[in-house]
Point group: C2
Chain length 298, copies 2
Amino acid sequence: MPVDIQPYLDRKREAVDRYLEGHLPAPHSSPAVLHESIQYSLLAGGKRIRPILTMASAEAIGPPPAAVLPVACAFELIHTYSLIHDDLPAMDNDDFRRGKATNHKVYGDGMAILAGDGLHTMAFEWCSRADLVTDVDPRCQVRIIEELALGAGTAGMVGGQALDLQAEHQRVEWEALQQIHAHKTGRLIRAAVRAGALLSGATMTQYEHLTGYAEDIGLAFQITDDILNVTGTRAALGKDAQTDGERGKQTYPSVYGLDGARRLARECVDRAVTRLDGFDEKADPLRGIAHYIVNRTH
Amino acid sequence: MPVDIQPYLDRKREAVDRYLEGHLPAPHSSPAVLHESIQYSLLAGGKRIRPILTMASAEAIGPPPAAVLPVACAFELIHTYSLIHDDLPAMDNDDFRRGKATNHKVYGDGMAILAGDGLHTMAFEWCSRADLVTDVDPRCQVRIIEELALGAGTAGMVGGQALDLQAEHQRVEWEALQQIHAHKTGRLIRAAVRAGALLSGATMTQYEHLTGYAEDIGLAFQITDDILNVTGTRAALGKDAQTDGERGKQTYPSVYGLDGARRLARECVDRAVTRLDGFDEKADPLRGIAHYIVNRTH
């Protein structure tokens, strides 16, 4: 690991948490239960990897505009909405998330659906609100919204979730499974990195290298998630472990073995870091994040 | 009614249907079940009132840009996503919609949640995609996206749905109920009208008058929906009738009587039409739509 990335991650995570706390609708304002349910899931202490990637990507190119925070946080809003919907009984039916009972276990399925829907819209609201995004060229702002939509939608995250849902009822080829993960996790991560690039006015070449970086770490992220599902404990993960095996899901460790999966993840990280060869030390956080992604324990 | 609005509504509805058919992901493209489920609900023959309002509002000011169609259709995408989620067992648990089995009855709850999520994102995608919105000032485009988000989100439609969900478990004051409806139906209708105004470069005064018009017809729309729930048949409505009474919901007819509710709706329409006094004959479709909203039978 070229730099100790932990202090950077802590600093950025705090900035994201502060921004979220400062800009969410107050939990006691009407509709109170909806706002409370949104806060419950959003302020449950996630790693904030997606917004941090947006910020680190913007910084890799130059000083980012102040509006990097609402845009970065929009990716966390989308991520959290997807977790709430994914945990529903009609989907993965999970009881624990980030060490707490899942949203629908506390607020009921109906309110959980609406909390997800509210967070989903809020992501686009934060990217478009005149009082939050003050120093970004509107042309660039529209491109960022387009990235967010394409990363989150049927060609991205939601498409991956739909493929995943279908896969539960049938035997799926390994290559199809990789497609599921590329969509379900990879596209939103890529959009988060690209949004940062757009915010700082990346050149076409920079944008393409950062896109490659994002695709590589997205894959590394998925492989590591699969590994942690095998090796992790519920205490460390904050959710049930060993669930993939129980569900008979094919995963990187089940196909390549634990060592093989770890090697694959490291190869992805090395490739990701190589994509940044043309960037100076301002890209060090991105390099550090790539290593962090495979070394994390939760 | 000053003009026969039906030919206008038919023409516009066909334009919306053609645009939707031409721009949705093909039903057999991957993920096929998701795309099929989206088509199932979106192409089920709705009245397309929201997109038509966007178009009529834009035309009331001047010749609208070509991008009026993707923006207008975005409101139908949001509306359809909200119907799919609203019909789920965890919410209203409805079996019929637009004369067909509801989405989750055909595709299952999980896929219905994802179809709604996919349509939700798609609305923002269509408003931001560079190849669809080619002739709108990006500054104006961002304002339209902001309107769409505020109308659809926790301060608008989703907020109204959350209040509605809470109201099912307790006795609610009549004024609180009116707030629910103003949010659940009114805010998205208002956003649809405002988006049209923004597309045609409305002055601040025009924008405010159109906002008042939208709020008045939004209320008329809700009152008429309540009336139709009492007087309509499942054949005409395409969904179960008389459900409000069964659920013990307070409605305009239950509070004001059927005649009182009809009078209230007509007053709203008259007020809406008065808001358009400063507009010339280009606003005739908006005037006709106001009358149509209370005279419709489904």
